[in-house]
Symmetry: C2
Subunit: 568 residues, 2 copies
Amino acid sequence: AERFNQISPSEFFYRNRDLAGFSNPTRSLYTAVREFVENSLDACDQKGILPDVKLVIRAEDDTKQDPRTYTLTVHDNGPGIAEEHVPLAFGTVLYGSKFGLKQARGMFGLGATMAILYGQITTNKPVKVYSSTDGDVAHSFEILLDIQKNKPVIQKKSKKKVKKRGLVVSISLEGDYSKAGSKIRDYVYQTSLITPYASITFEDPKDNKFVYKRILKTMPEPPTIINPHPHGVDVETIRRMIVQSRRDNISTYADAVPLLHKALRLKEEDPSHDAISERASRRWGRLKPEVRTAVAITDALKCNRAYLQDITIEDIDLDAGMIHYYDNNVSQSRTAPLQGDGIFYSHIKNLVAGEQLHSFLTDRFQRIGPKTAQNFIKFAGFKSEQHIGLLDNKDLVKLSDSLQTYEDFLAPNPSCLAPLGESPLEQGMKKFFEPDFLEVIQRGASAYSGFPFIIEMGIAYGGEIQSRGIKTYRFANRIPLLYDEGSDVVLKVVNDIDWGRYKVKHDAPMVIASHVCSTRIPYKTVGKENVADRPEIERELKLAVQFLARRLSSYMSRRGKAEEAKKR
Amino acid sequence: AERFNQISPSEFFYRNRDLAGFSNPTRSLYTAVREFVENSLDACDQKGILPDVKLVIRAEDDTKQDPRTYTLTVHDNGPGIAEEHVPLAFGTVLYGSKFGLKQARGMFGLGATMAILYGQITTNKPVKVYSSTDGDVAHSFEILLDIQKNKPVIQKKSKKKVKKRGLVVSISLEGDYSKAGSKIRDYVYQTSLITPYASITFEDPKDNKFVYKRILKTMPEPPTIINPHPHGVDVETIRRMIVQSRRDNISTYADAVPLLHKALRLKEEDPSHDAISERASRRWGRLKPEVRTAVAITDALKCNRAYLQDITIEDIDLDAGMIHYYDNNVSQSRTAPLQGDGIFYSHIKNLVAGEQLHSFLTDRFQRIGPKTAQNFIKFAGFKSEQHIGLLDNKDLVKLSDSLQTYEDFLAPNPSCLAPLGESPLEQGMKKFFEPDFLEVIQRGASAYSGFPFIIEMGIAYGGEIQSRGIKTYRFANRIPLLYDEGSDVVLKVVNDIDWGRYKVKHDAPMVIASHVCSTRIPYKTVGKENVADRPEIERELKLAVQFLARRLSSYMSRRGKAEEAKKR
Ligand SMILES: Nc1ncnc2c1ncn2[C@@H]1O[C@H](COP(=O)(O)OP(=O)(O)OP(=O)(O)O)[C@@H](O)[C@H]1O
Ligand SMILES: Nc1ncnc2c1ncn2[C@@H]1O[C@H](COP(=O)(O)OP(=O)(O)OP(=O)(O)O)[C@@H](O)[C@H]1O
Ligand SMILES: [Mg+2]
Ligand SMILES: [Mg+2]
C-alpha cells in the first residue's frame, strides 16, 4: 500500500529551496541579503520613514576558504516588529503582513524565514533578532525553526533599553562571497538607484565600506489597500466576498448590544431572552436593523444580553436550520437550532439573503459606480434587487465570467501603487551614470487580470557610461532583478527593438532602466528574479521603450549633425 | 499596527497559481492534462502495471467560443487509491506518496489538487473520482476544496460494483482548446515516445481519437527507495537521521513485550512493574537489549506490561530528567520523570547516546562501506566509537561539512533510478521519426548534490523527419517538457555546440531527444517546465551530445561520399 504523507509548507520549501533562490552558497548568500534588505525597505515605506539600512557581511573565520561561514546582519530604522509577532514573522513560512492588495516588495510571507532556514541547516545556529517599536525598549530573540512543523522554537528572549527604533536581524550561513560579492555590490548599488530616498551602508568581509547616501528627502506617497477590480475575480473570490458581506452584516449586532436596553425600553437590569423577544416583537417596526439582528440571535440562542458579547457568529445554515457560533468563554464552536417561522426567523433569512447585487458591486469592488453597476447587471442578465446570498452555483459562475469579460469598467485605481516618479528616477540615473543624454517616462496606469501596474523607464547614453552595448537594469516594485534575464519580459522587449533604426550601434554606451510597479508582479519563480510576459505588461514596456528610443534617436541625429559641423 | 496573517499552502498556491502552471485558460488546460496523466503513469510504474491511459476532453457547450468550459477526464488501469486516502490525495496540497528518495514524475504533492482547484474556481464544480483497488468495487467521490483550510469537503460518496481496477478523475474547468490543443497533442505524442510500454488514447473536443498503442510489452524495473548519499546532506538531514536512529532503537521494546514473560521467567499472569524491575535486575546480564529497554521503560513509567503496548515513546530528555510519551488510550502526550541512577537509567542513557558513528554511517547512508567509514571518520576528525546522540552542535556542523566535502565516497547508487534504456528509446524514436540515421546513448550514473541522475539521448536525422533545423525534445523522468525551453539546460547545451563542425546545416532535418532521470530533477519552477543548469548535469548532457554528434558526423561524411559516388 502507498505510504501517504502530509508535509508542512516549510518542509516543502526546505526540500525545494532552489525554487526560492537558495540553490548553493553563492546564490544563497545573495538571496539572504535581498530578503532582509527588502523587508527593511518595505517596513520603512509602509510607515513613511526615510530608510537607513545597514548591511554587514563578515566571515566567521578569515583563515578558511570560500565557501565558508558568514555572519549576515541587517539593521534598519523602521517601525520594528511587535514582540508577540517576532517569532512567527521569522519562524513561520507563509506568515506575514503583505497579503493585501497593495504594492510592496514582499508578497509570499516566505523570504526572511527561508534565509533563516538556510542559515540554520548550514551552521546549526539560531537567528538573532532585536526589535524596538518605540525607540526605548528592544526585545531580543534567538530563534530556531522546527522545519517539519513550520513553527519557531525560542531559544532565548530578553529585553534591553535602547535609543533607536527599528529592527536588527542576524544569521550565520554558509556562503561564497568570492563569487557572490560582485552581485551583492551590484544589488546594493542598484537598490540605491531605485530608492533615492534611502541611505544604504554596506560593510563587506574585507572591511570595505560602501555608503550610498539618500539624494532625496521626500518619500513617495505610501500605497493604500484597495478593493478588488472586477477583472481580477474568480468564483472563489466572489464566494469569499459574499461570505464577508454576510459576516459584516450579521456582526452589526455587536454594536447593538449596548443599545438594546434603550431601544426596547427594558426595565430589568438583566432581562431574560423571553423578555427581550417579547418586547422586541411589539416594537419590531421601530427597531434598527442591528437591534433586530441582536434580538433574533438572543431568541435563537435563548441567551441573555451579556452572552451576546462573548460569541462570534460563524455561519447560518438555513437548509439545516442551524446557527453556528463560537463561544469565547469556553473557546468552542457551538450550534443552535433555528425556529422555522416568525419575524425573527424571517429577519435571519434576510441576513442570509444578504445585500443586493447593486450595492455589493458598488461597495465591494473598485471602479464600479451606480450607473456602471446598473449597466453591468443588465449585461450579465441579473436583476438589480438580486440578493447575493441567494445566488446559486450556476449564478456564481455566470457572475464571475461576466465580471471578467465586461469591457466597460474603468481601468483599475492606481492609488494602490507607489511608482518612483519621473523626477526621482531621473535624479537617480543622473547621479549613477552621469550621462550626456537622459530621458525618463512614467506611463499611465494599466492593468493585467485586474491588477493595476505602472511602467517607468529611463534611457541614458554616453557621458560617464563605461559599458559597451545596451545594458538593461530591471526593477520590479523597487527591487533590482539581477538573475535570469534570459526569461524576463523586459529583455524580450528590449531585444525585439531594431536599435539600428534609432541610430544606436550594437556597442553603444547605453543604459536602460526599467521599473514595473504593481499590486502583484507576475514573477515566474518564488525567488522573484524574472517577470512573466503578460501581454498587457509587454505592450506597455514596448510603448515606453519606443518613446524613449525616439527621443534618443533625435538626440543622436542632433549630435551627429553637431559633430559634422565641428569637422567642417 | 501591522495585521499579520498565516495562509495555508493551498491559499498560497491559489494566489500564486501561475507558479504552478495555471496562469490562463490555455496553459491551465494543458497543465491539468499533464498532472493527471503523469499521476496515472506514476501509479502504474510503481506497481509494474503496463499502463492503459485514456484522456478525454469535451466542451460542455459546443456553441460557445473559446475560452469556455471543458470536462477533462483521465482513466487508468493503475492500482487505484484506497478509499481512506482519496479525499486527502486530491483535496489537500502538499499531500502525496512521492516524497521519498526515488525516481517518479511527481514530487511536490500538489499537481492533482492544483488542477482540481483551478477547475473549482472557474466552474464551481466538484471533482469526481472513481477508484477501485481490487477490480471489484469502486468508491466514487465528489469533492470540493476548502482552499483557505487546505482540506477536502466531500459532497457525495458512494460505492458500486466494477470489473476493472484503476482510477478515473474528472474535472470541469475553463480552458482554451483552440490555443492549447496542439500543445496537448504534442504532449500525448511525446509521452508515447518516452513511455513505449504505455498505451495512450486521447479523445479531443472534436471527437477525434488519437491512439498510441504500446510498442513494448515489458516494463523497466521499478526504482527502489534508497538511503541518502553523504553529498546530499545538511545539518537538518543529519539531525533527523539521528532522531530516527534513536526512535528505531527505542521502539525495539515493542518487540520485546511478548518475550518479557519468558525472558524474566515471570510466574504471574500480569506482574506489577516492581516485580518486573526486581526480576530484571537479577537477570540483567542475560537480557537482550530490547528486553532491557522494555524493562527500563516500565520502570520509568511505573506501568505494567499491557500498558507498554499502548504507548509510543516520543522523546527522552536527559537534561530535564523526563521521558515524553504518547498514550494511545487517551490520545494524549504524557511525561514521566527519569530516576537519575541505577542500571535502568544508564541503559536509557545508552539509548540516548545512540549508535556509534561508524555503524550510523554504514547503515544509514548509501555507498559507505566499513573501510570507507573508517577513512572518513579519520578525515573528519572524529573517533569511530563516537556516539551520534552525544554530538554537540559544533560536531553536527563539522560532520555535515565533512560528509559534503569528502571526495572518496563512491558515486551514488543508481538503483533508485529507472532510465528508459537505449533499446526502448531507440525503438520509440524509430517509430516516431522513421529516420535514415538514429543513434542513442545512455550515459553512466552520475550525481549532483548527492542526487543520482542518468542522461539518455538520441539523435535522429533525415528519413521521414519533416521539420527543418534542429528540433530538441526534452524529457525529465519520462515527462515531456514543452514550455520555457529558453531557460532550460538542454537547449543551452545544444545551442553551445558548433554543429557546422559536425557537418550539420542550420536547416537540417534533425531531431534530438534528451532524457534526464533523477531522484530529484532540479526544476526551476513548481510547474516542472525547465531544468536548472547544475554543472554536473550540464557536463553529462554535453558529453552525450558530443558523442552522438560525432556519430552523426561520420554518417554525414559517409552519406556525402555515397552521394558523390552516385553523381560520378
Ligand atoms: N525589517 C523589518 N521590519 C518590520 N517588519 C518586518 C521586517 N522584516 C520582516 N518583517 C515582517 O515579517 C513578515 C515576514 O517577512 P518575510 O520576508 O518572511 O515575508 P514577506 O516580506 O511578507 O514576503 P516575501 O516572502 O515575499 O518576502 C513581513 O510580512 C513583515 O511584516
Ligand atoms: N491515478 C492515480 N492512481 C493512483 N494514485 C494516484 C493517482 N493520482 C494521484 N494519486 C496519488 O495522489 C497523490 C497526490 O497526487 P498529486 O499529483 O497531487 O501529487 P504528486 O503526484 O505526489 O506530486 P506532484 O505535485 O509533483 O504531481 C500522489 O502522490 C499519488 O499517491
Ligand atoms: Mg520579505
Ligand atoms: Mg502528481
